[in-house]
């Protein structure tokens, strides 16, 4: 429970100050609330993402060219209050409307929902796409009740590219919704993360246990099992994802192997190696593979795998440049980090 902090109640404010100390040339704070926006905003549909803090670099790492224009940050694991959301949306609206993209959690739905009412009163048009990629959180029949986890990254990436291209709010919303519908994730936890200031572990996992389907706030998952080798674990997760996403030989996907906090990049590469192998065996083309810790749960140990099923439209937007300090894609052409 040791953390490098000053005061648990100030972590979000100080995080924003530290972020802006490094990147102030490109970003600025929204006055009075925990929100950050791009400085060079364009005459286009504005993309706003956000949610509880504690998942860094999500969400503040997702603002930038070809990504979101603003983020609204709540306290650790708590949705931002409506006033935050409201102020950020107001700051980035260029008169073309605002698209909200956030994970499907009660708290977020309630707070963003209230903000939407406030924005309507100001005459600002908004749309919302809820990210629902976590296949462990509800069965297929209730797909729209699923939680949003690392899939946020893909969905915001696509939305940012579509908005950058000058599409209308309706059009951006449509392709963003499609991106979400094509995004499937599942996570696994080996050890818990803790909220700053907490003095007890939120749960425990024995030395030989892992939990499949654990949520990114430590919400219990589908199944607790014995530890297994990386390949077997990857196979288990992929089996579920492939069934849910109905990917067929010949299909193309973008892959994200995402670390949850303390799992090393070495481990993520070992997982990615297996993902590549399994996809290849199934004849599924990995258009791009990204291996990083974008959506974390404090120092939780574990990882998630996300598959974005691509069609031509999604592939175009996926391949568009995106630039932020913690997420970058330069225009790519298939399974690469290309220049």
């Amino acid at each position: 429970m040791k953390k490098v902090i000053n005061n648990p109640e100030q972590v979000v404010e100080e995080t924003i100050e530290g972020f802006l100390a490094a990147y102030k040339r490109s970003y600025q704070k929204v006055e009075n609330v925990n929100g950050i926006v791009r400085r060079d905003r364009k005459d286009k549909v504005a993309i706003v993402t956000g949610g509880g803090s504690g998942h860094e670099p999500l969400f503040l790492g997702l603002i930038g060219e070809g990504l979101a224009d603003g983020v609204t940050l709540g306290n650790v694991f708590a949705a931002p209050p409506p006033t935050n959301v409201f102020e950020v949306a107001k700051a980035v609206d260029a008169g073309k409307g605002v698209l909200f993209i956030y994970g499907n959690y009660s708290g977020d739905v309630l707070n963003f929902g209230m903000a939407v009412e406030l924005l309507e009163m100001e005459g600002i048009t908004t749309n919302t796409v809820l990210v629902t990629d976590d296949v462990a959180s509800a069965p297929t029949e209730r797909k729209d009740e699923r939680r949003g986890i690392a899939g946020d990254i893909f969905v915001v990436k696509i939305a940012g590219a579509a908005a950058e291209k000058g599409l209308s709010l309706e059009e951006v919303t449509k392709v963003t919704q499609k991106a979400n519908d094509h995004t499937f994730s599942i996570g696994v936890a080996l050890a818990p993360g803790t909220i700053p200031g907490a003095t007890e572990l939120p749960y425990t996992l024995a030395d030989d246990e892992l939990e499949v389907g654990m949520g990114i706030h430590g919400e219990p998952g589908m199944e607790r099992t014995k530890m297994m080798p990386a390949d077997a674990l990857t196979d288990k997760l992929l089996e579920k994802l492939l069934a849910e996403s109905n990917l067929q030989s010949g299909d193309e996907v973008a892959v994200l192997v995402n670390g949850l906090g303390s799992t090393t990049l070495m481990e993520l590469f070992i997982v990615n190696r297996r993902v590549a192998k399994v996809l290849e065996e199934k004849g599924i083309q990995a258009y791009d593979m990204d291996v990083n810790s974008y959506c974390t749960t404090q120092e939780m140990a574990g990882f998630s795998i996300t598959l974005l099923k691509l069609d031509n439209e999604l592939k175009d937007y996926y391949s568009a440049p995106a630039v932020s300090p913690y997420y970058k894609k330069e225009s790519i052409g298939g399974n690469v980090y290309a220049k």
Binding site: N75, A78, A79, T83, I195
Partner: protein, 222 residues
Amino acid sequence: MPNSLQEVQLNAVQVKEMFLYVGEKVRENKPLLTKIDSAIGDGDHGIGMSVGFTKAEEGLRQKEFTTINDVFKTIGMSMISTMGGASGVIFGTFFIGGVKGLDPQEVLTLPLLAQILEGSVSSIKQRGKAERGDKTMIDALEPAVEGLKQSVIGNQSLLEGLKVAESLAEKGVEQTKEYVAKFGRAKALGERAIGHQDAGATTVWIMFTAMREWVENAINQE
């Protein structure tokens, strides 16, 4: 305070004092709420409620109050604008939902409290879509408010009404253990949530307990 228990009514300053005490009690229970929310949620409910009541306290201490409406609104707006999370909106609405459209009131009686909180229940349900049995704070709040209403009909005192509400809230908390969750983070758990009580419902119970204690102490200090 009037001498007759039956006639207990609170002015705005007293209502403010009462809720300062409620906030204190909720903050004292932060570890308990954290523990409960950790079992089937994300463990931040205690922190969230603490932040909310701390901000409410700041708001309450900054102003002189003459109407009950203002006290409720100050607390509710503080919560909504600072807490975030599900409980920011839900508990903010607890305080705001019942005074919306209400004429300015200078004294809080049992009937007025029952009326205000009835409005809160319906606002929360409208916002959050949860019904009884969905394993949310509604499971404690709705029966408690029904208890208040019954006490009004039975012509009971504020203290007696709060006692009834407190015990029905407690019962409601107990019942949440039997439910699977339809809202919030515990939803994905399905059957695995059974056996665990709901965090928000626990807060509701703590709040009614604290209100009852404050009124009781106030009467004893007469």
